[in-house]
């Protein structure tokens, strides 16, 4: 049974990627998970320099989900390269670095530094974080901005470039297309949904940044729809995510059109989820006599539905 999938030039041993911001820099989990057993690890978003992020409280639980506004706290790309990357390399982790920027130049510069470092497998461009005012989402909410960032980074690196798209737009597929036209090797979707929770007793927002990003099972049906739509629109691989909590959910994203998937929030609930996911996917492929997991990608059958519909 072949669980491997390909994202541009990057071969993943399985389609399971730890979602950015939900797995620290990977090294935090070295004690509980064999880092090399994951398809890849998308490390926490990195700017050029350190950032302290927002004040606590930074998260609040919501129905079948959670809201976060971490504010992209991070150690900056240079410290990442010197302090974290060697351990990740030593542990044979496939590393996707989530790249942030407040300007186009910053995206380019961070990507350049990563391209020169040893042990980076791909660059995921975070143009979709809902939790910071400057940068990021301003690129991710504009077709030109998306195209510009992708093509600028494309020019400075041979690593696969994977812009991560925001769901907070009317038409996600058009952004996927802009990314493809800019030279992206794949797109990741979705980042979190802009949302808020108010404490009715104090009438204050429950997280310090007022608004934050919604993740977890609650958003899964919306995310699956977006992956499905993008699959109809672009030819590059899609990395799907949003609320995956078990192997069935991961398979649902793949059937909708994702070549690989990321798991974020569910890893908080169960840091040992990864072997369960791999086992669940294996079991499914066996039951359905599918030899390669990649054969499953985008195999959704809407025909029966359409027939019924036309019958009405």
């Amino acid at each position: 049974m072949d669980l491997s999938v390909r994202i541009g030039s990057l071969l993943l041993k399985n389609p399971l990627i730890a979602a950015s911001g939900c797995f620290g820099y990977g090294v935090e989990y070295a004690d509980v998970v064999d880092l090399s057993s994951l398809g890849a690890i998308a490390v926490k978003g990195l700017f050029l320099s350190e950032r302290e992020g927002h004040a606590a409280p930074r998260i609040v639980e919501t129905p079948a989900g959670m809201l976060n506004a971490i504010g992209l706290q991070g150690i900056g790309v240079r410290r990442f390269v010197s302090e974290k990357l060697p351990e990740l390399r030593a542990r044979n982790a496939t590393v996707v670095v989530n790249v942030c920027g407040t300007t186009l130049d910053e995206y380019v510069e961070v990507s350049r530094i990563l391209s020169d470092a040893e042990g980076v497998g791909a660059i995921e461009l975070n143009i979709s974080c809902p939790n910071i005012k400057e940068g990021g989402i301003q690129f991710g909410c504009s077709l030109n901005g998306t195209y510009d960032v992708v093509s600028a980074v494309r020019k400075v690196t041979r690593l696969p470039v994977i812009p991560k798209l925001t769901p907070n737009v009317t038409d996600v597929p058009s952004f996927a297309r802009a990314a493809e036209e800019g030279g992206a090797d794949a797109v990741s979707l979705v980042n979190t949904f802009l949302a808020m929770v108010i404490d009715i007793e104090t009438r204050q927002p429950k997280i310090s940044n007022v608004v934050g990003g919604l993740s977890g099972p609650a958003i899964r049906p919306i995310a699956v729809r977006m992956v499905y739509e993008c699959r109809q629109t672009v030819r590059i691989p899609i990395i799907g995510m949003g609320g995956i909590a078990d192997a069935r959910d991961a398979l649902e994203f793949m059937i909708a059109g994702a070549t690989a998937v990321q798991v974020g929030t569910a890893n908080f609930v169960d840091p040992f989820i990864w072997t369960k996911l791999v086992d669940g996917i294996r079991d499914y492929l066996q039951r359905h006599r599918i030899a390669r997991v990649s054969d499953l990608v985008g195999t959704i059958d809407t025909h029966a539905s359409a027939t019924e519909r036309s019958g009405v």
Binding site: C22, Y29, V32, E52, V60, P63, A64, N68, I70, T265
Partner: protein, 270 residues
């Protein structure tokens, strides 16, 4: 190296309308735990509630041969997960991930250990008291609660030879008022040369007051902080505490892996 155990509830005892004590069969975690460490619990399958919740390890239970067999949790009902813990039935299984976090640094005699607990902040001090007393450290527990009926496990501490200083908000036991008042007085009365280590756990305001008092009396102080925790393993950056770094700058430190026990004088209490 935390492990995840589907721990069977051995017994669940209601201590009051809000507090309960639940014993979980998690020998591997019980054996590895150090005072001040915690576990991440999930008492339900499914998504309501979704995330685990952090709880201090209250006691380590041992079998006849002295081998750790279980741990207990002292829980106070404040929301969905603590409600589930309150209602937990013997035989039920609760996902228990741990032990997690940086424990208390244990002192040796002649340093005295003074523990300051507010409400459910008592939780980390049962195991700490045992460790301190095992080293024959003179130990005092300053313990404040809303009312006499919410002062738990006093006999346990008395049996260990821990001196008790009790306060209640309604005056129904001990001194009336907050627990930091007697702490302040006793520190003022104490010989500057006689070393004391302060250990505090409780509401944020109590911790901040304790930190101020410790600073005023120039005593070292370890506090166990409480933050909303998404993962407990350093993955999510939800649990940060603003601390002064060596560079003098303000840094957000993940209290699940750098804490929950932190040096009071490095925390920026704002």
């Amino acid at each position: 190296m935390p492990v995840d155990v589907a721990a069977e509830v051995i017994v669940n005892r209601a201590l009051s309308a809000d507090y309960n004590l639940v014993a979980l069969a998690a020998p591997a975690i019980a054996a590895a735990a150090a005072p001040g460490q915690f576990v991440m619990l999930k008492a339900n399958a499914g998504f309501d509630p979704l995330l685990r919740r952090p709880f201090s390890i209250f006691e380590i239970l041992r079998d006849g041969g002295g081998t750790p067999s279980a741990l207990t949790i002292l829980s106070k009902r404040v929301g969905p997960s603590t409600n589930l813990l309150y209602d937990a039935r013997a035989g039920q299984r609760i996902a228990c991930l741990g032990p997690i976090g940086r424990p208390f640094t244990i002192v040796d005699a002649p340093v005295e250990g003074w523990m300051i607990a507010g409400g459910v902040g008592l939780a980390p001090f049962a195991t700490l008291a045992e460790s301190l007393r095992a080293r024959r450290v003179e130990t005092t527990l300053f313990y404040g609660a809303r009312r006499a009926a919410e002062l738990f496990h006093l006999d346990f501490f008395r049996a260990l030879g821990v001196a008790l200083v009790l306060t209640t908000e309604d005056g129904s036991a001990g001194e009336t008022g907050r627990v930091v008042a007697p702490l302040d007085r006793k520190l003022a009365a104490r010989d500057r040369q006689a070393p004391v280590m302060l250990y505090a756990c409780g509401p944020e305001a109590m911790l901040a007051a304790t930190a101020r008092i410790a600073a005023r009396h120039q005593r070292p102080c370890q506090v166990s902080v409480e933050r909303v925790m998404g993962c407990g393993l350093g993955g999510c950056y939800s649990c940060v505490v603003p601390m002064r770094g060596e560079d003098g700058g303000r840094h957000h430190v993940r209290s699940c892996i750098a804490g929950p026990v932190l040096a009071a004088d490095q925390i920026i209490w704002d």
